[in-house]
């Protein structure tokens, strides 16, 4: 068996929300309920789940931005909680929102990020240009303020930021949301190349079935904070006698993928007093 890239065991995360007069009442959201799964080194693993199912929360825990309430994670052998600093050197992350200094140019934003990781500015700039070109962003855009770019362009800069540091592990939270079909394909091709040439381990969340099927060797279904099924796309379809991943999700989770987790029938995100 190959080495483990990501190993998640019995992960739990609660959020407390204060409500009511003087914020006296508080409700608890159980965002991750005893999640366990493994991703081999060099494998691409996809997480599918409706809004609010806990995908971003899981990615934030792996990115050392959230401390889990219980359970453990190992990323390329490094433990969370415990070895966050070592983990940070190994991960790149793309989130749904392209978080940048909007007044700064792509070049300035990317160089700032590269310097934060201790890279040399010259080689970082060269590498950034290469990646942006492969993702299909024109060179002239490099010096434009981010606020003048479309959402899709910003997303490409965000992907470049994550790849710039050559991370052996990539956490991609809906990386292609907002991209046009051509740009989506550019990103997907790039990710495939990254995996085959550099053996990058990738954890990907997406609402795009076709993308998930194309990129991910294995897929996990997540609903209301629980991992309810996992396997290759074919296994998941066979398991549920479904023709598509969409149908497989409905059959296995009891809710549609595009349905909000917090549905009125009390079926949704489990909140308790």
């Amino acid at each position: 068996m190959s080495n483990t890239g990501i190993q998640v065991s019995h992960l739990q995360k609660f959020f407390r929300k204060r409500k009511g007069f003087l914020r006296s009442r508080s409700t608890e959201v159980h965002a991750l309920k005893d999640i366990s799964f493994e991703v081999a080194e060099g494998e691409t693993y996809g997480l599918l789940g409706p809004n609010g199912s806990g995908k971003s929360t899981l990615i934030r825990v792996l990115a050392t931005l959230l401390v889990p309430d219980a359970g453990e994670v190992r990323l390329l052998g490094h433990r969370i909680p415990g070895e966050e600093q070592a983990v940070r050197r190994k991960i790149g992350r793309v989130s749904v929102d392209a978080a940048f200094y909007k007044k700064l140019s792509a070049r300035e934003n990317l160089l700032y990020s590269a310097l934060l990781y201790g890279m040399d500015a010259k080689s970082a700039e060269r590498r950034a240009m290469e990646i942006l070109e492969e993702l299909g962003l024109e060179q002239e855009k490099f010096t434009d303020p981010l606020e003048e770019m479309s959402r899709g362009m910003q997303q490409k800069v965000a992907i470049t930021r994550a790849l710039l540091i050559n991370p052996p592990l990539l956490l991609l939270d809906e990386p292609t949301t907002g991209l046009d079909p051509k740009s989506k394909r550019d990103v997907q091709t790039f990710l495939e190349r990254l995996r085959s040439e550099h053996g990058t381990t990738i954890l990907l969340t997406s609402h795009d079935m076709a993308e998930t099927e194309r990129l991910c060797a294995r897929i996990g279904f997540i609903a209301q904070g629980s991992l309810i099924a996992e396997g290759t796309a074919d296994e998941l379809k066979r398991q549920s006698n479904a023709a598509s991943l969409d149908d497989a999700f409905i059959a296995l989770a009891g809710v549609a993928l595009d349905e909000n987790g917090k549905s009125a029938n009390g079926n949704g995100a489990s909140e308790k007093k």
Partner: protein, 274 residues
Amino acid sequence: MEQVLRQTWAFLFRDLHLTRRYMSWVIVFTFYAIVNTATIALIGVALGDRRLTLMLILGALLWNFLSVLFSEIANSITYERWEGTLEYTFMAPVSRLTHLAGVSMFVVFYSVVRTAIIIAALMLFIDLDLSRANVGGILVVLAVSSVAFIGLGLMAAVLPVFSPERGAEATNIFQGILLLVSGVYYPIEVLPRWLQPLSYISPATYALSACRKLMGIGQGAAEPVQTAGAPLSEVTHELLVLALMGAVMIPLGLYVFALVEGWAKRTGKLKRTG
């Protein structure tokens, strides 16, 4: 080592470019600070009181310098929260010490340049004679008091992690209290008695007192308006207090910061969207 230098440079690089992109605001704020300093100084000129004029100029300049130092450091995290980049800074393999040192270094540079511009502009309004002042000594006092103010800034910087709006509000209130109790434009004795204890815990009080002596501003009516600036040895008391405050406030600031950062990561307060 090279790694740490690059990481420190990352924050200087970022803040230099942000300042460049927000240059029109920087100019507006500096313009306002010049006008503010000049109008305060002209109160003394109008009264024909040279001692008062000197007191007011010194107070305005010092307050400008220290308050910018404090507020820029205090607001640095607010900016990152607004932009949504805070998660990315916290995800990077950079120690909090390097992060905050980088931010503070830029702010010191920015405040020094800004104060120099204000002094230059002030010369157009008032003939400012610094020839008898102990300028070297004043710079030493400024350097030592900067450390204490950086520490205060660090403690305030973490407030926006709780809440961006509440954090900015608290920073302004705190800055206002410092201005009130430190005797920037008046001797602290004129404050109500119940406020005076606060004066003794504000580093600005000591910075002002030391700088007045080093400028050679006479204390009582019996003394000449301006004598030669005192030597540094006459302000050792103030320097010691300031150094002690810095030595306590910097580690305390870092500690408070780490505490709140840990809390934010447990409760999910870093999150913006997604």
